[in-house]
Chain length 189, copies 2
DNA sequence: ACCTGAACACCGTTCAAGT
DNA sequence: ACCTGAACACCGTTCAAGT
């Protein structure tokens, strides 16, 4: 909102979200956001109980957007389950390259008190993956195990990327590996 | 060291390491460690340039211990490569349950400026895994790809555990999955 | 050579006082 | 109803002064 005017809680979340996008939840600082908004941090406490409340609002917004993207992906027509899985993994691999706020989320979730939200998103991802794998004719329990294992591998690759461990495994190999885990099923029951 | 006496840099690292063990690198706070040692934080700056130097010393110590454990494992006689791999993965799965300082390391490494050390440890883990897989008669490039993929999956499961996402996949299943990835080779090249 | 104590910066939080 | 400004706590950092 314009300097000098009055602000809503939403304006605070907008400004905080920009900082989150750039630097993760750790960059969501009351004083800094107040500066961005051209107001004082004292005014922040009119709208929110404390910093954790703001961090939580930002994460909830991230969850909503993540869900939208999920639905958009699922709704998009075209293709066998295999093709959809391939599309999904290749999008994930591509986003892996960008070190944005989301990339930091799993790392920061616990310290910032939003582990529950990240857990919820994880469950959605697993459910969606399991659904696609199930569409290949795989039994439901096995489909879930494969979904968890391939999600875990993708998250692990993200972590290795965080410490800049390249491991000579590129985007294409990551995509192929995740797809192979999902479709050819290496997961023991 | 006893209160009132004089302290060495090592004493500071000892005390800081205890805090790391309990709460990760984030718990390594100059003021708190000074309190533990019964001295003032001002005195800290005689021994160290700043907090990052202390954090780095703690991580270097962690690396040394991690290496020791690695060597101990590798040297331990007995068993085919398969048996050693199984032992390795089951130990990792077991440690996954404990939420200690190490569990937080990958998350915090970048923010704390010790990504290089964690990267080095990752490379050792991959090299060791690749060596065992290579002993199964697998070609060297393929062995490395399998090593990276199985390490990534284990790290990813750790992350999911951090947000307490259980996913109905237990320790035994994790072990079996990692082993299957390493030995039966789902990784596309 | 090693430490204390006071000072400052930065950020989260509270609150009396203003509009 | 919403905000300012000052205050305090906590922690990292510096430094003059002490032993």
């Amino acid at each position: 909102m314009a300097r000098g005017g009055t602000r809503s809680a939403d304006d605070w979340v907008d400004a905080a979200y920009e900082r989150f996008d750039a630097g993760g939840l750790g960059a969501v600082k009351v004083e800094a956001v107040a500066r961005d908004l051209g107001t004082t941090k004292g005014s922040f406490y009119w709208h929110f109980a404390d910093r954790p409340a703001l961090v939580r609002a930002v994460t909830v917004r991230w969850e909503a957007r993540e869900t939208d993207r999920f639905i958009a992906r699922a709704e998009r027509p075209g293709g066998s389950p295999q093709e959809r899985l391939a599309r999904l993994f290749s999008e994930v691999a591509e986003r892996n390259r960008v070190r944005d706020g989301e990339a930091a989320l799993y790392r920061e979730a616990e310290a910032e008190g939003v582990a529950d939200i990240v857990r919820r998103v994880s469950e959605r991802r697993v459910a969606y993956l399991a659904e696609l794998i199930g569409a290949l004719g795989i039994e439901v329990g096995e489909a879930r195990r494969r979904a968890v294992a391939s999600l875990a591998m993708v998250l692990g690759m993200q972590q290795l990327a965080h410490v800049r461990y390249e491991a000579h495994v590129d985007e294409a190999a990551l995509t192929a590996t995740a797809l192979a885990m999902a479709t050819s099923g290496v997961v023991a029951s």
